[in-house]
Symmetry: C2
Subunit: 341 residues, 2 copies
């Protein structure tokens, strides 16, 4: 029997940030695919679309008109999942039925006035303005008494549920700390307590040393495929400095963050020669008034495509009932992305 | 300000089986949809397809021929994510990179020789034969020393990653207990310890008493939309008796289980007049040799469709970064399903 090899044999990998495992089946990468093919969105969009509710000057669902904005633009989501004025209260029965009211604010963040662009088409300087806006929104929303968590994210591409190709992201800010960041808070705190060091800074050092999963780096940020990546081309952007939140980024870091996002999104578009869909989001310190010295800001990218522009990874039966599962190894994906930088 | 109402105001609900919360935004159900539309699979399939690797007598990827089976048929997956002979071993570095080899067996379970059917077209007596096979596989696989968990599941429909419309499910049996059932094991055990009763039996009593989320019931099983449902038309099939695993079902229960599955799948097909896609799976006692008296067998159905045959719910950005989110309430979904029984 051959000896255990991460590149060949089925195994599980542990995610120390979420406490969860992913099943890796490297030998399965050659499986033929006869299932669903995704439809590709039409390209060649106009710079301005009179029917787009995100383009400058156009009318939105609530009857308001967007300003003639020239770089970025933020407004309250017209179909917000959370509302600031929701009445408080709770419901419980027999200890097993439990509900609590939830207050929050949902915003839409337009990245550019141009309908035909995505982050990968934008200049670093333009993306830095998006970073500025994220910083401002995190600080302003986080300052509100009833907001304890600010989730900044982007759904890019139809296959990721985006209903408008105009470059934009969202912010859902709310009273509770959702499960994803809550797990990261607990596990980072436990590690910090034990080692007096940041979990993700230690992890970053290991990755720089191993140099098997690094995709791109600049003076302040590193883009890598995490050892425990779930999605085929999942990546993590990590600041080298132990930043708790985006409010702490200085000018050089904001530019370097924009540069890392730009380079990563260009590389993604090269993988299958298509505008690469993904959901991305920034995890950072909850705005619950605590210091959280263990928190290390990072940005996750979860792209669904697996083998081509039209064949994605399905996280279905086994994954929904059991654990996430992947075929190609994180090392293979990282090598593929790195050669496209 | 109006008082807190589960049918109207944004809130979170707690899942006592997984320990997680779902964000419910009832007011958002009227949001217009301009995003991706799913392509519907072609209907009118032939009873026998010479190119289908699951039809009787046809050749499979490994060169073997299926027997001329008349009801159900199980075989080892030709593209198995898990392998029984995988070499043992582990990898660790700096405490933060951790991997372990994983052994297991993946099987495919054909539900019927007929290429053109789904569970909803089959007779209860035919579905009972599928239940028989699940029972047999659970017991045989579970008896193996290196198998500590047996996950029985079905991915139905292209949108749920099924690559072949021939009615079939899968079993992934393995050494580790995956996260989903591991959480359920821990939370059921804690409840049992505290109350000397089964969490899901107590829950079932509450649901029967409230009678707001029950879809269908027979002498031995209840189909309901759980209070904490994540997917728009998610359901749970619960046995009335405190069964730990499928091996304990008697003849009457197996027939009643088949009847519940049949009725639910017929109802699902009526929601949007289309063969309703879903991932479904049975959670039951791990086969790790322990008694697990707290375990209460159940079957989850996770269907993705939301508003029509072609508009599904996307679990993307916020959901991947934060918590799952739903628009229509579980009570509304249950009422809709119930009127279609
Ligand atoms: O094994 P299949 O049917 O080819 O594959 C399908 O189910 C598996 C188990 O849920 C998933 O890992 C795959 O992504 C999905 O396409
Ligand atoms: O708010 P949008 O862009 O209309 O909606 C999209 O993102 C949301 C947040 O991840 C999801 O809840 C929706 O399912 C998705 O379609």
């Amino acid at each position: 029997m051959s000896s255990f090899d991460l590149a060949e044999h089925p195994h599980r990998r542990f995610n120390p940030l979420s406490g969860e495992w992913v099943l890796v089946s490297p030998h399965r990468a050659k499986r033929p695919w006869q299932g669903q093919q995704e439809e590709l969105p039409k390209e060649n969009r106009p710079q301005y679309d009179p029917k787009c509710y995100l383009c400058p000057t156009n009318e939105r669902a609530n009857g308001e008109h967007n300003p003639d904005y020239k770089s970025t633009y933020a407004f309250d989501n017209d179909f917000a999942a959370l509302q600031p004025g929701a009445p408080g209260g709770s419901f419980t029965k027999g200890g097993l039925l439990q509900a609590e009211s939830e207050r929050g604010i949902c915003k839409v963040i337009c990245f550019s006035p141009r309908h035909d662009q995505t982050l990968s088409d934008m200049e670093v300087e333009e993306i830095r303005k998006v970073v500025d806006l994220w910083q401002q929104e995190y600080e302003e929303l986080g300052m509100l008494d009833f907001i304890n968590h600010v989730q900044i994210f982007e759904n890019k591409g139809q296959v990721m549920g985006s209903s408008n190709p105009h470059p934009h992201g969202q912010i859902w800010a709310q009273s509770s700390i959702p499960a994803g960041p809550a797990k990261e808070t607990a596990l980072q705190a436990a590690y910090y307590e034990q080692h007096q060091r940041s979990l993700l800074q230690d992890y970053l050092e290991l990755e720089l040393e191993e140099n098997k999963r690094i995709v791109y780096l600049n003076d302040h940020f590193v883009v890598l495929v995490p050892f425990w990546a779930v999605w085929p081309f999942e990546t993590l952007i990590l600041p080298r400095r132990h930043l708790q939140h985006i409010g702490q980024m200085d000018e050089a870091e904001k530019y370097a963050f924009a540069d890392a996002i730009k380079r990563l999104s260009v590389v993604y578009d090269r993988v299958f020669n298509v505008s690469f869909p993904y959901s991305a989001g920034i995890h950072q310190r909850p705005t619950d008034g605590q210091q959280h010295p263990s928190w290390h800001l990072h940005m996750h990218f979860y792209p669904p495509l697996l083998r081509s522009a039209s064949v994605k990874k399905f996280m279905v039966g086994y994954e929904m009932m059991g654990d996430p599962q992947r075929d190609i190894t994180p090392e293979t994906s990282a090598a593929r992305l790195k050669e496209l930088v």
